[in-house]
Subunit: 280 residues, 2 copies
């Protein structure tokens, strides 16, 4: 089964385009766990258990584990996900980008050590920095394309004189990912929810790629605009929400509050689908 | 002391522009250690001890540790470096690139957990992905600019219609790093040794930034051309060599062979300096 098939299966099964981002910040953990870095796994596992039937994917952000020497807790979390939610793909958000031999090591880290189903990658170093990940045919890779931060403009929005049609840099990345770079259909793109026009533009250039769209929720992206701009019958979207779910409550009811927020977001995304269409 | 001062101090003290890259591949370890991932620290420490008086910097590549669950051995290596070579800066090669809150976690990983003096970063997500690293005033950050791999062309060599003077993307990155992004003088640039003309171009655009130049040695860059293109009295270069030093011999004499190769490279780089000039 390819990553894309796994993703579409999870979307159908859970009726969801929602990806739950796992960015554990111990200082924001609820009462009784606050600032306890030994409880990163436990916090994440409780969130996963509260939302596992509402999500089409989980996305742990590796920096939040590495900063606290908690790689072992990330491994434990991956085992928990595999054992209990084998149908829900896990996207390891690592945004690696390096050349041949080093990229091979990063691919091994993501796919063999952690058993992730897909990763996020930076395209800045070009195709040979992406290629080592494509050697795992059942795995996916989302390339950064148009990111949701203000600085995303600095390079991604520059217009290229040297490419036919003078696309913006992010448009060029979208074309490469849909075209010559996508050897085995394993690629997807990361596009921020804060720019619906740009999601639509990316979708036009990459009609069948899965789009990973962070920025709904705490970052302020509009769910309805996001779905309308990005979703197509043959072009799935994976809409990530992290902080607004993880930290919906700082009380002992944090898991219930996370579920309520995840359900609200899942429903909001579903309700934004065109009439008469359905997932995937 | 700033990172730049530390680097220049080490260059003068050891008469060296050589950075020893630590990319431990257990399958290439010498006889008796081959494929033993428990001996990553030991292998690296022996290389460090054999070259500590010949290098102006060490550059551990984190992927080679992470792929083998060896973060603890990287920590041990960093302690060894701090204790025995406190004057030689350590550049953690991680090529991270993410936004605000996540970048803060990565900065914490590099500077607080591992105690690195500088990191490598991707500029693709723009200034706000770099900014969190600049909050550590005594630390440095090398931005990917023009990388030495063939795919480096794919994006970095595109010409920008939307920026005055229509620079190539990597030229634009060099200007930003020398200019508006370089709030506290902490930035440097990564430029591959395989393209001396482009090193010279980057040096023209960024006259005072330290340039980290990988690709001499195993990757085939020419040491003399590299120094002539990049070195300036007020613009230091840090020329990295990894595999040709680490794997100079696969016998029990690997550390001696590493020293001989490091000495050869250090001397070759020094001999390429303009007559009558000296480090730094």
């Amino acid at each position: 089964m390819t990553f894309l098939e796994m993703l579409q299966g999870a979307q159908q099964r859970n009726g969801s385009m929602l990806c739950v981002g796992l960015d554990p910040e111990p200082t924001r953990f609820p009462l009784g766990m606050t600032s306890n870095t030994a409880r990163i796994y436990e916090f994440c596992a409780r969130i996963v258990d509260a939302t596992g039937d509402l999500a089409c994917a989980f996305k742990p952000q590796i920096a939040y584990f590495a900063a606290h020497r908690a790689e072992d807790q990330l491994e434990q979390l991956m085992r928990h996900l595999r054992a209990n939610y084998p149908h829900v793909p896990v996207i390891l958000d690592a945004k690696r980008g390096d050349i041949g031999s080093t990229a091979e090591q990063y691919a091994r880290e993501a796919f063999e050590r952690y058993g992730a189903d897909a990763v996020t990658l930076s395209p800045f170093m070009g195709f040979d920095s992406v290629q080592p990940y494509l050697k795992y045919p059942e795995k996916g890779a989302f390339l950064l394309c148009r990111t949701s931060n203000p600085g995303g403009d600095d390079l991604q929005n520059q217009r290229l004189a040297s490419v036919e049609g003078q696309p913006l840099l992010y448009e060029h990345v979208a074309r490469l990912a849909q075209g010559s770079w996508n050897l085995n259909g394993q690629l997807g793109l990361v596009v921020g929810a804060t720019y619906p026009n740009e999601i639509e533009r990316v979708r036009d250039l990459a009609p069948t790629l899965p789009l990973l769209i962070p920025g709904v929720g705490a970052q302020g992206g509009d769910a309805q605009a996001t779905v309308r701009a990005g979703w197509r019958a043959k072009g799935p979207i994976v809409v990530n929400s992290s902080r607004s779910i993880l930290y919906a409550s700082s009380g002992i009811d944090f898991a219930e509050a996370a579920r309520a927020e995840a359900l609200r977001t899942q429903q909001l995304l579903r309700a934004s689908l065109p009439v008469m269409s359905d997932l995937p």
